[in-house]
């Protein structure tokens, strides 16, 4: 796959890729090598997939230039595959009564019921995380659900709010400010420090939404 290795200081490397599929494939491949820990791969401390990039952080003392050439070689031989290393499946029950459901329907030209059917009709996948611990950016949903962010973000979005913005869907793990359009709510626990991992949604997890009555 095509990739660009961008500099990010002495102890990190930023790999720029085509999109989420490439990012998930590359993260899985890098993760396997880092876990095996042979040679210079032992120097990989952590990996962070994002929308179009994978951040590789290095342990102190790791030779950046050596790892760089290894990463380059790995990615040039790598094809985007369905094997994304992890295929954990999660079903999330949602009460679709969000304050922005009507606006989303208006914007997409669908009825509210059609929005719900579109949201529950296609499995989503956690492309990457960020924003807050436990927040997963869900990709691969119904393309008709593309909506802009709110012009003015809300000061407080309740925990468990199910939302849309751009091509993404997401669930707020805890109460926080937020600019996504809220279509429903879930009682699923997205972040629990007593669990390992504490996040319900980790990169690669397949997420299916199911409508339930309030």
């Amino acid at each position: 796959m095509d990739s660009r290795l961008l500099p990010l200081g002495e102890h990190a490397l930023l790999v720029e890729l085509g999109g989420t599929d490439e990012v998930l494939t590359a993260t899985a491949a890098l993760g396997r090598l880092a876990a095996a820990g042979h040679g210079v791969w032992r120097g990989v401390e952590d990996l962070l997939p994002a929308a179009r990039t994978v951040l590789i952080t290095l342990r102190p003392g790791t030779q950046l230039s050596r790892l760089r050439s290894q990463v380059q070689a790995l990615l040039s031989d790598l094809a985007v595959s369905a094997d994304r290393g992890q295929s954990r499946q999660v079903e999330i029950e949602v009460v679709y009564d969000g304050p922005d459901l009507a606006d989303v329907a208006r914007h997409t030209g669908l009825t509210a019921q059609e929005v719900i059917e579109a949201h529950t009709g296609t499995p989503w996948r956690v492309g990457f995380t960020g924003f807050a611990p436990g927040f997963g950016y869900l990709v691969g949903g119904d393309p008709r659900l593309r909506v802009p962010r709110l012009a003015t973000p809300r000061k407080s979005v309740p925990a468990g709010s199910v939302a849309l913005a751009g091509d993404y869907s997401g669930i707020y793990p805890r109460s926080s400010p937020g600019g996504w359009q809220l279509i429903g709510r879930t009682s699923a626990v997205l972040w629990d420090l007593a669990q390992d991992p504490p996040a319900l949604l980790t990169p690669g997890t397949i997420v299916t939404f199911r409508a339930v009555p309030s």
Partner: protein, 292 residues
């Protein structure tokens, strides 16, 4: 025999438990956190004979008062402040014995922002995701310290301290020069050298997430003027440039991803100095490699 503990009598603006940080959880949105001045924190542990993973108290702008229950040995590093034990002044970067019932007071440092108070045995609060660090962004880790908190001291390490004091020759100049490597988005800017030419001052809106700077705003070039950057991974020491054009140097509690372009990244040896900057402090950048 019950182990000794430290009782917090008073805190200044902010007192936190910190260690080397929380490693390996970026993909679930949890950043590294940890001591903002890692060098000062590590020095205190070394002087005390503590393992490198031991936790200390990061005291921002002084104002900390602690009582020792049972005997303990402590060490202060980082921003030098007037420190006293029961009104008797004690040294910086040196081992200090606290008898049972003694009160240690950390004054406001005349220079620098963060003083570290470490204890032989380390602060033994439970670890969260492998670390005792308080992440002020996500709220993970122990809560900021408050009067009345009692902090258990960990088991005394077998290793004996082998030096009694370390000369802290680090100068505290009015202006710091920070060395920068080109970042992933350096070519988004009209004139990346403007970063090094511009005198910057530290904004009072700085914290453990990042140190904000004031100065002549940096301009993006035409190709990238209106471009939105999909969020990407960030690191401590990265210099992010938000739409205002005034750079922010990311510190330990930065969000794991960010949507503003990173023009450069500090040499890691220089990030500790950023952690000691105070509002109105002056910053000069120096590129140590050319922007390709």
């Amino acid at each position: 025999m019950s182990r000794s503990h430290l009782e917090i009598l008073q805190t200044g603006p902010l007192a936190l438990i910190q260690d080397r940080g929380r490693i390996g959880h970026l993909a679930i949105g949890v950043g590294r956190s940890g001591a903002a001045d890692l060098g000062a924190h590590a020095l205190a542990n070394r002087l005390l004979g503590n393992p490198a993973g031991a936790a200390s108290i990061e005291c921002t702008l002084g104002g900390l008062r602690v009582r020792s229950h049972g005997r303990s040995t402590v060490c202060l590093t980082g921003a030098p402040a007037v420190v006293s034990v029961d009104s008797r002044p004690v040294g910086h970067g040196a081992l200090v014995e606290l008898p049972d019932g003694a009160t240690l007071t950390v004054g406001m440092p005349p220079n620098g922002a963060r003083t570290y108070l470490a204890v032989r045995g380390g602060i033994a609060v439970p670890r969260v995701l492998g670390s005792r660090a308080t992440d002020t962004l996500s709220g993970i880790g122990p809560a900021p310290l408050r009067p009345g908190d009692r902090l258990r001291v960990g088991r005394t390490p077998r290793r004996l301290p082998h030096v009694e004091a370390a000369p802290t020759a680090r100068p505290w100049p009015a202006e710091v020069t920070l060395r920068v490597l080109p970042g992933p988005r350096a070519h988004w800017f009209q004139d990346p050298d403007a970063l090094a030419r511009t005198p910057w001052t530290v904004s009072s809106a700085s914290d453990r997430r990042g140190v904000r700077l004031h100065g002549i705003p940096l301009q993006r070039n035409e190709t990238h003027a209106a471009l939105e950057l999909p969020s990407e991974g960030m690191v401590r020491g990265a210099i992010q440039v938000p739409p205002s054009g005034e750079p922010v140097i990311l510190l330990n509690d930065h969000p794991v991803t960010g949507g503003y372009p990173v023009i450069g990244v500090l040499l890691s040896a220089d990030v500790d100095r950023v952690a000691q900057l105070t509002p109105t402090g002056r910053v000069q950048f120096r590129w140590v490699a050319s922007v390709a």
